[in-house]
Amino acid sequence: MSAATDICGTVAEELIAYLDGELPEPERARVAAHVGGCLPCRREVEALRRLAGLVAGLPAIEPSEDLAAHMARRLASEAGVARAGGGRRLALWGVSLAAAAAVALTLASMVSRQARAPEVAELAASAPAADPGGAVAEPEPPAVVAAAPAARAPRPAASDDQPAAEEHAPEDLPPDLLARPELYLRLPVVRRLETLEHFGAVSGRGDADRVSDRGRGGTGLG
C-alpha cells in the first residue's frame, strides 16, 4: 500500500464531514489540500456530493388537509378523557381542560382559514366545553363555527313534507305517479318490502329475517 493510498484512506473518513462543512479548521485545510491534488478523492467528493443531493432531494409530501383537524380532535379527546377522570391526567401535565379545549378551537380556526369548514364544525362540536375554573378563560367560539354550515354542501333534506322526488324519479313511471310523488316515494317501498318478505318466506332462506329487518329499518314500517 502506497503512502498516497494511506492518505486517501485517512481522508476518506473525513470527506463527508468536509462536504457538510463540519470539519474544524486544521482538519478542513488538510483535507482540502489533499482533495485538491488527488484525482480519485476529487471524484469521490463529487460522488458523495451527488449522493447527498439525492437524499436531500427526496420529494416532500404535503400534510393532509385534515391534519390540523385531527390534531385538534386528539387534544379535544384527551381533554374529554381527562374530564371524565376528574381532570387529573391533564393536570399532571400542567394544563387545564379549558386550555386543551382552547387549543383545539385554535387549531380549528387554523383549519377554517384553510377552507376546511366541514371538518371543523364536527370538531367544534366534539371539543369539550371550557372549564370556567381553569387557567384559561373560556375561549370565544371561533368564527368558523358560524361559517361551517354555509360551507357544507347545501343539500335539501328529503322530508315527509317535501320529498326530493324529482331527483330520483324513474322515467318509466306512470304520469299520475310523477304528478303525485308522495305515492311514488312510499308505495313502491312498501311493495318491495312485502315482496322481499314473501321471497324470504317462500324460499326459506336464512336471510329472510335480515332482509325483512333491513326493509323495516329503512322504511320505518317495522
Binding site: A17, R74, G94, M110
Partner: protein, 215 residues
C-alpha cells in the same frame, strides 16, 4: 385516526436536554413554548403551523407511510403540549422537537405490526402533495422515461434508507433532509458530535454502496 400515544419517552425528552448551553431565550420557538406554558394557547397553534409539515416529512422519510407519519406528528405535538407546563428552555426548540419525533418514529418502526404489515419506506402511490420527481439520471431522455427513472431512483433511495440502522437513518435524515448541523443532530439524538459524524459517515457509506449505479 385517533390512537393511543405511543411515545412515552417524549415528555422526558422535552423536559431535559444534555449540554452546557445557556437557555436559548432568543429562539423564537422557545419563546412560543414559554407563551404556551404561561397559558397563551395560540402559541401552540403557531408551533404546530410552523413545524408540523417538517415533522410529517421527517416521519414519512423515516417510517415510509403518510398515514403513520401524520399520526406520529400528532403524537409528537401532543407530547409538546403535555410538556408545556413543565417546560424549561435548555436547548433550541427544534432539537427537542426532533428528539421527540425520533423517539416516536423508533416506537413506530419497532411495533410488530409495522415490521410485518408493510415494506418499509415504500413510496405512497397516493401522493397528491408530492413536490415532484427526484433528480433524474438522464436529462436527455424523454419526459416519461425520465419520470419513470426518477421514481425508480426514489424507490431505490427509500429502500436503501429503510435498510439503514435506525440511529444512522435518523442522523442522516436530520442532517440531509432537515439541514441540521451535526451539533443539533447530536442534541436531538442525545449523543456527541463525533458520534453523529460517525453515524452520518456509516450511513453515507451504506447508501453509497447501495446507489453505486446512480452516482
Amino acid at each position: 385516526m385517533v390512537r393511543a400515544p405511543r411515545n412515552s419517552q417524549g415528555i422526558d425528552a422535552l423536559k431535559s436536554s444534555e449540554g452546557p448551553e445557556q437557555p436559548p431565550t432568543t429562539d423564537p420557538d422557545v419563546r412560543l413554548m414559554l407563551r404556551l406554558k404561561a397559558g397563551d394557547q395560540s402559541a401552540f397553534g403557531e408551533l404546530f403551523e410552523k413545524h408540523s409539515r417538517a415533522i410529517v416529512n421527517f416521519a414519512y422519510h423515516f417510517v415510509g407511510s403518510r398515514e403513520r407519519a401524520e399520526e406520529i406528528t400528532q403524537d409528537v405535538f401532543l407530547q409538546v403540549y403535555r410538556a408545556a407546563g413543565r417546560y424549561e428552555p435548555q436547548a433550541r426548540f427544534t432539537t427537542w422537537l426532533y428528539r421527540v419525533a425520533r423517539n416516536a418514529c423508533l416506537n413506530e418502526v419497532r411495533r410488530p405490526e409495522y415490521r410485518h404489515a408493510r415494506r418499509p419506506l415504500e413510496r405512497e402511490t397516493d401522493d397528491p402533495g408530492g413536490r415532484g420527481e427526484i433528480a433524474l439520471p438522464d436529462p436527455a431522455a424523454p419526459e416519461g422515461e425520465r419520470a419513470l427513472a426518477g421514481r425508480q431512483l426514489e424507490a431505490k433511495i427509500r429502500e436503501a434508507l429503510a435498510a439503514l440502522p435506525e440511529s444512522q437513518r435518523a442522523a442522516l435524515l436530520m442532517s440531509r433532509t432537515e439541514g441540521m448541523s451535526y451539533r443539533d443532530v447530536a442534541e436531538a439524538l442525545a449523543c456527541t458530535e463525533s458520534a453523529v459524524k460517525s453515524l452520518v459517515f456509516r450511513a453515507t457509506a451504506a447508501l453509497r454502496k447501495a446507489l453505486e449505479e446512480f452516482l
